[in-house]
Symmetry: C2
Subunit: 110 residues, 2 copies
């Protein structure tokens, strides 16, 4: 598992609801709230090994959804294009409230 935290947050954000409730809970506790396997084991009533297995199965399922649909890849491509356009607009737009508002809204899409 050599994924970055960002990777896993995106995976969970996009496909987390397709996991079982237990898998989603364990992933959120470990990846988003940074609890240890032992802490999660105590909290959800699994063995430490059970938590580990649950994490591995969940991550495999999440990566499987992305491998099939490519929805995160497509999202990131669109976001990069928005960032590039915003960069050009920052140079090109006239000073003023409306320009600042547009740049802020583009920022909100990044």
């Amino acid at each position: 598992m050599d994924a970055t935290p960002l990777d896993r947050s995106l995976l969970l954000d996009f496909y987390g609801e397709l996991l079982t409730e237990k898998q989603r809970e364990v992933c959120e506790l470990h990846w988003n709230e940074d609890l240890s396997l032992a802490e999660i084991a105590e909290q959800v009533g699994l063995s430490r090994q059970g938590v580990w297995d649950c994490l591995r199965r969940a991550e495999a399922a999440l990566r499987g959804f992305e491998a099939k649909t490519g929805l995160i890849r497509r999202f990131l491509e669109r976001r990069a294009e928005i960032a590039a356009i915003r960069g050009e607009l920052a140079e090109l737009l006239p000073e003023g409230t409306q320009s600042r508002d547009i740049l802020a809204r583009l920022e909100g899409l990044m």
Copy 2:
């Protein structure tokens, strides 16, 4: 099934790869290529009723993915925001090649 064709194309585009191969094939033939149930039945080796059942199960699965993840809803919200921003920029940007290029790229994201 009162969905618009656009609905179903988006559902298939986003989640089609999560269906079985047979389900995906039947949906594409019916929704994208507009073949009749009888034509599809002959082509894929199912009864007409089998094609109908396959379509219903596939559509239910696709709607289930969207109900859980909301990824199409989120995509459409972002797209609407991009369209609104593009509309304002069309009024605001100075004439010129770069402006036209930016508006065209935003159009490509809509």
